[in-house]
């Protein structure tokens, strides 16, 4: 029986991830050569913690982008979760475990609200998440009052932020299994395959009985939950809870996912690719840090990386999934499935 990586990609998908793996490996080697500090245990541990924070959010983000959506509110959900965590623990004195539960609940609700606005109110996902980016962070800043809470003293937070099991940071113990599960879900399960179908042709997916709205609601909710978990690790690592947490996270995550080969037009991508993308972006940041590249220049490099990757990816795709048909209308039986851009400006879902 042939081992097939995922639906529809034949050999191409495998080769794409193979190439990506090669690039990432090359990058890591280059960085290691440029700065010996890269491969030290301490450095790897610190980097991997950051990797976990980005990576956890990248997983549902991959799914969202697969079905032609986007979520730019993840950073703000992190902020809100962090504030809820910190302030409920320090100001209202509830036990840390309860604070964690509360923070995760809030984060999941944020994701759920995003999903509901998109599926019920039919507001385009870009607009919803742009609004909630502001609303959630605004609430976080309002609640936080500009202050910060120190979380060093709490053992759970210290464990999340600095703890190791068998020399491997706690975060990885959570993240890697999640990657594995998510990757397998996308490759091998019914639900996963539905995502690819929706991303390529939502109408046909509906006609095949796939419950598109329910799936969409679920992935946005998962995005909220993942942001909440990421917030926990971040708060543990930084030792503080502030409303500025997670600023710019959506950018890192989206860059990682796009670099990992997921197409903004939907239907193409994989968790494995996104994982490699996260590794690449995180390693790049870390490497640049170690070399001594100042943080603003890093931002420029990564910004340019996103733009270049999108340019290359989208233009390598042979199918024309643009907004515009050629000037001579193509006869119906030769026509492509009608593009539903992000969001489809004038078509109803």
């Amino acid at each position: 029986m042939r081992e097939i990586r995922r639906p529809g990609a034949i050999a191409r998908g495998w080769t794409r991830e193979g190439i990506l793996l090669g690039i990432v490996a090359g990058l890591l080697i280059a960085i290691a050569l440029l700065t010996p500090k890269f491969l030290t245990a301490t450095n790897l541990q610190i980097t991997s913690r950051y990797l976990v924070e980005v990576g956890l959010v990248a997983i549902p983000m991959t799914m969202i982008i697969l079905i032609r959506g986007i979520d730019i509110s993840v950073g703000s959900i992190v902020a809100l979760a962090t504030i809820v965590l910190g302030f409920s623990w320090s100001v209202y004195r509830i036990p840390m475990v309860a604070a964690i539960a509360l923070a995760l609940t809030v984060a999941t609700l944020c994701g759920l609200l995003n999903g509901l606005a998109i599926t019920r109110l039919r507001v385009p996902d870009l607009v919803v998440t742009l609004s909630t980016l502001a609303i959630y962070r605004g609430i976080a800043e309002g609640l936080g009052g500009g202050g910060r809470v120190y979380l060093y003293e709490d053992p759970i937070m210290r464990f999340l932020g600095e703890g190791q099991i068998l020399g491997i940071p706690v975060g990885l113990w959570v993240f890697l299994p999640v990657v594995l599960i998510a990757g397998l879900v996308l490759d091998r399960t019914a639900w996963g395959r539905s995502l690819y179908a929706i991303g390529h042709n939502e109408t046909a997916a509906r006609f095949a009985g796939i419950r598109v709205d329910r799936i969409r609601l679920l992935v946005y909710t998962l995005s909220g939950l993942a942001s909440g978990v990421s917030a926990l690790f971040m708060a543990g690592r930084l030792g503080t809870a502030r409303a500025t947490a997670g600023l710019g996270l959506e950018f890192e995550v989206i860059t990682a996912v796009v670099v990992g080969g997921t197409a903004i037009s939907g239907g193409e991508g994989s968790i494995w690719g996104s994982f490699l993308g996260v590794v690449m972006v995180t390693a790049l940041r870390n490497g640049l840090n170690l070399i001594g590249v100042p943080s603003p220049i890093q931002a420029m490099i990564i910004g340019a990386l996103l733009i270049l990757t999108v340019l290359v990816n989208e233009n390598l795709r042979v199918r024309i999934r643009g907004w515009v048909r050629p000037a001579t209308p193509v006869p119906a039986h030769e026509a492509e499935p009608a593009p539903a851009a992000n969001p489809s400006p004038h078509e109803r879902r």
Partner: protein, 326 residues
């Protein structure tokens, strides 16, 4: 411009807001020596002056959204151009040139955005997201000290008041008027509307959507450059984090002003009212002592609300679309 659609409604709402503010806060009245109350328009004038740059930026964004695109990099672009203005003015350039520099830089940014979107055939959202981060990085790199100041001569321009109205407002008004007229009376303007309304049909009648998207993004860059020059000349001190959240503000103003987020419908005039509305809301928040930290949430809520209204209106036109993409 067309005084139909949402503009009359907005005019009324804005007027109402002004009245409420006047009645309940010292916004427009102050007690005079005799114990009575006197109309004092200085707060309103200050408001308009402060928002001149926003007006200009919003006009640019209106055209981008009318064409069916979006530009998330405006905040970072604003910062970069303002920094350029400050630095060249400090280097001793004559004021007119110091005004021109940020405009050129802004236009260049718009050109790059436009080229990538139009010729790379990608939707603007990812490109401008990347550009947003890239430019912000550049700004922080150029201003490691955290802020930079313009020369006094430059600042003087912003504070001057020919005929009692500040230069910022003159520029903003002239720009907005020119753009409103262009949108309505030039072939380019009408093509922008057509492309936003139905890019496929536009292609069929011979309009090139990619060319239009290129030009609106280029133009938006110019607008941001101009806005930054106005801002820099008014405030004098540029912090390296200005402009954060600017894109949200502009998009919200545009949508509240009656422009459809999907493109093809809206007006410059409406956007101006939208900016005024948000400015008044902010003043209200200040006067009612709601902490500034909540502002963002308020804007976000307004955006969601305005787009929700927009969608409800769009539903009525859903039928025509089936033919448009045949």
């Amino acid at each position: 411009m067309g005084w139909k659609g949402r503009e009359p409604f907005l005019l009324i709402v804005n007027a109402l807001l002004i009245v409420i503010l006047a009645a309940t806060t010292p916004f427009m009245v102050r007690p005079d020596a005799a114990g009575g109350r006197v109309l004092d328009l200085s707060a309103l004038r200050l408001l308009l002056d402060n928002y001149a740059a926003t007006f200009i930026g919003a006009v640019g964004m209106t055209l981008v959204i009318l064409a069916g695109q979006i530009d998330l990099s405006v905040g970072s672009a604003l910062a970069l151009c303002a920094v350029v203005a400050a630095q060249v003015s400090q280097m001793g350039w004559p004021v007119p040139l110091a005004f021109l520099a940020p405009i050129l830089v802004g236009t260049l940014i718009g050109l790059i955005n436009g080229a990538i979107v139009a010729y790379g055939r990608i939707h603007a959202i990812l490109v401008t997201l990347g550009m947003m981060t890239l430019l912000r990085g550049l700004v922080v790199h150029l201003v490691p000290a955290g802020w930079v100041a313009t020369s006094d001569a430059f600042k003087g321009v912003g504070l001057a008041r020919p005929l009692g109205v500040s230069t910022s407002i003159w520029i903003a008004a002239a720009f907005a008027l020119a753009m409103a007229l262009a949108a309505r009376y030039t072939r380019w303007g009408r093509e922008v509307y057509a492309v936003g309304s139905n890019p496929n049909a536009a292609a069929i009648v011979g309009i090139r959507p990619h060319r239009i998207w290129f030009t609106v993004l280029l133009f938006n860059g110019f607008a941001i450059g101009l806005a930054s020059a106005v801002h820099a000349s008014r405030f004098g001190v540029i912090q390296n984090n200005i402009g954060q959240g600017f894109e949200l503000l502009l998009i919200t103003a545009v949508v509240i002003g009656g422009t459809s987020i999907f493109g093809g419908y809206g007006s410059v005039g409406g956007t101006l009212l939208g900016v005024l509305f948000l400015a008044l809301v902010r003043s209200a928040l200040i006067y009612f002592r709601i902490p500034a930290l909540w502002e963002q949430a308020v804007y976000g809520a307004f955006l969601l609300f305005a787009v929700g209204l927009d969608i409800a209106r769009s539903r009525a036109w859903a039928r025509a679309w089936r033919g448009g993409t045949a």
